[in-house]
């Protein structure tokens, strides 16, 4: 871990929708390429040299070696410059940073994953982790909500999950424009939590999405009786170092970059500024 990034090459840029793309990077250094390992929920600091650095959640699974995938929305300076890059461009990557999902706690129990919009980015890593060792989890449920069928990210992969029998995956959209075909649920994400109908006892819940999504989903989960300590949420903050020094990501006295970004709801309610 260092403040100096490793150079990496953009080998593939997959268009997802007008705002989102999936970028696949390969480290230039062979040793780093092989030794780079992470756990789901961790993030990397992505450098576009000359523009700046931004924290981005890792979207690929920890078992996929040799490359790192980041699903990025075109939202600011660095992400804008990233979207403008062509394949074979050089970027800087350093990390992985953050605590990641406590997979050792989650294993052996049930797992409910609830994602909203781009919240699928870190959760895709967790989903891939689970798929790779499905036998270590009991029931697994995935709920994914998006605005409309066109804004469902990774729709092919998600449809494959829906088709699986060992995972209960339901997709939901807020509305369906007339020209679109949509087989999934139409309505609020909170409704599919009911339809997934996971047991309350022994279930860990991983939630990620925009603030308003958190509000409704957390309310729903608590009303169903999930304990605050079993709900894991991923916080987003500005970061400039990833190592607990720059001070930008401090919430209360916790550094999101080292003590987070994954917090249980129990920890999060005790932090100021969150809700």
């Amino acid at each position: 871990m260092s403040l100096v990034p490793q150079t990496a090459t953009l080998v593939e840029k997959r268009y997802l929708d007008p705002q989102h793309s999936l970028f696949r990077f390969v480290f230039d250094d062979e040793g780093v390429r092989e030794s780079f390992s992470f756990s789901p929920g961790q993030f990397v600091m992505l450098s576009i040299f000359g523009v700046g650095e931004a924290p981005i959640s890792i979207t690929s699974g920890p078992d996929e070696k040799g490359f790192v995938e980041l699903c990025v929305r075109q939202a600011g300076r660095v992400t804008g410059a990233l979207h403008a890059l062509e394949e074979n461009a050089t970027v800087g990557l350093r990390g992985p940073y953050g605590n990641g999902y406590p997979v050792d706690v989650m294993e052996g129990g049930n797992l409910l994953i609830v994602a909203g919009g781009l919240g699928i980015a870190p959760l895709r890593s967790l989903i891939r982790y689970v798929l790779y060792r499905r036998d270590r989890f009991r029931e697994v449920g995935i709920g994914y909500g998006a605005r409309n069928p066109e804004s469902v990210l990774f729709s092919g992969e998600m449809q494959n999950l829906v088709a699986r029998t060992d995972i209960k995956c339901i997709l939901s959209v807020d509305s369906v424009p007339e020209a679109c075909r949509w087989d999934g649920h139409v309505g609020r994400v909170t409704e599919i939590i009911d339809r997934i109908n996971m047991p309350i006892e022994g279930t860990s819940v991983a939630v990620c999405g925009p603030p308003v999504f958190y509000k409704f989903v957390l309310e729903k989960l608590l009303s169903l009786g999930y304990s605050k300590g079993s709900i894991y949420m991923s916080l987003e903050r500005r970061m400039e170092c990833g190592l607990g020094k720059c001070g930008h990501c401090v919430v209360g006295h916790k550094y999101t970059c080292i003590e987070g970004p994954i917090f249980t709801y129990w920890d999060a309610i005790n932090l100021p500024e969150i809700f």
Partner: protein, 400 residues
């Protein structure tokens, strides 16, 4: 044998010249605007020895205002352009090679900072914990390892100083490299760190061992300096009041209403460490540097898409005080304040640490009165004013 010596004042400049042979010598100098600043000493006689206690903090030599972190050469461009006068360290490591080279720019220059105050040395000891525990910050570590600090104990604390209530000054029993106590015609020299002892011993012919009279004189000087403090402020009671929930948000609201968001307190504070990272292009490559940043600025937490988790000024002001009074002791074992009083001198809104600690006791900031001591009512102007030099004894800032 205790590491104590006596240095005759006539030998000081000769000693500094000896020190300068091994290291860059930095000391308090008068700049063009007649401010005292720490700069590289060219002429020993230009060092200002008659210093106010709160001269600038030496934090800039450990965490510079602008610190180059790495440089990326772009193939085809002009490699190795010196963006600043500072040289790229010759043993800079090369990381990655495909698209140019990334140089790590940790500075390895050896330096001696002369004239540091004890409060600042106390601050550096906390900075060491912050930067070197958990992730070891390589830039800080390099600078810290190569920096020797010669402390001058404070015989004449400023009216704004309150280190005495925090145990961070005006004299230190340990934790410094070398500490000088001015005894009139000579300095009482103490060395605590191994490098400090080595440095003194390397020029041992300039020093003599202290006698009983020297010890007595030092003791007397310390006592009289301690009696000179006007502010007797403890941060324990503000901390306790916050933790007990007695400080409500409307108090912070009134503090925030007087905050100009100038960032002066943060830049002056020897314990404020937040930085921002920026990339700059120049022909031939890119330089990435870190700069001081301020949590009081609105954009400090701005995320892509323009989301601001800390949009209210009240939350930002409150966070600064919480960080220093609550979080610093919890995480690093000491207050995020050493009582140097620089924020008192800087803050145009007069909501510096000393003023806040005092105002909290009266639980009033902009209202008509504040209760200080045994029910004595004083106006806010009295609480928040700057002490005048002719005042003696504990004023309204006193513990009561």
């Amino acid at each position: 044998m205790r590491n104590e010596w006596i240095l005759d004042k006539n030998h000081l400049s000769y000693w500094l010249r000896q020190l300068r042979k091994e290291r860059e010598l930095v000391g308090p100098l008068l700049n063009g605007g007649k401010d005292i600043v720490f700069r590289t000493v060219e002429q020993i006689h230009e060092i200002v020895l008659d210093l106010p206690a709160s001269l600038p903090s030496p934090k800039e030599f450990l965490l510079p205002q602008y610190e180059p972190m790495l440089r990326l050469d772009i193939p085809g461009g002009e490699p190795g352009v010196h963006y600043r006068a500072q040289p790229v360290s010759p043993d800079a490591c090369v990381k990655g090679s495909r698209a140019g080279r990334v140089y790590d720019l940790a500075e390895r220059r050896r330096r001696i900072v002369f004239g540091v105050r004890p409060c600042d040395v106390s601050a550096v000891r906390l900075l060491d914990r912050f930067f070197l525990e958990g992730y070891r910050d390589p830039y800080y570590e390099q600078r810290r390892m190569n920096t020797l600090m010669v402390t001058i104990a404070c015989n004449n604390p400023d009216p704004t100083c309150f280190c005495i209530g925090l145990g961070t000054g005006p004299y230190l029993d340990g934790g410094f490299d070398i500490q000088l106590t001015d005894l009139g015609n000579r300095y009482f020299v103490q060395a605590a760190s191994a490098e400090g002892v080595r440095t003194v011993k390397a020029t041992s012919f300039l020093f003599r061992r202290p006698g009983k009279a020297d010890h007595d004189d030092q003791y007397e000087v310390i006592l009289s300096a301690k009696a000179r403090f006007r502010k007797r402020i403890s941060l324990e009671s503000p901390r306790g009041m916050i933790l007990a929930g007695r400080i409500k948000d409307d108090f912070w609201q009134r503090v925030a209403a007087r905050c100009f968001e100038c960032g002066g307190c943060v830049y002056e504070c020897p314990l404020c460490t937040c930085f921002t990272v920026t990339d700059r292009r120049y022909h031939g490559g890119i330089e990435r540097a870190r700069l001081w940043d301020t949590c009081l600025f609105k954009g400090f937490t701005r995320m892509a898409g323009g989301v601001l988790p800390n949009e209210k000024r009240m939350l930002r002001t409150k966070r600064w005080y919480y960080h220093k009074l609550i979080h610093y002791p919890e995480v690093l074992g000491g207050f995020g304040c050493v009582g140097c009083g620089r924020c008192t001198l800087t803050c145009p809104g007069k909501i510096d640490m000393a003023a806040i600690a005092t105002a909290m006791k009266g639980l009033d900031l902009d209202g008509a009165t504040a209760v200080v001591g045994k029910g004595r009512q004083v106006g806010i102007g009295e609480v928040m004013r700057r002490p005048k030099p002719e005042e003696t004894g504990a004023g309204p800032e006193g513990e009561g």
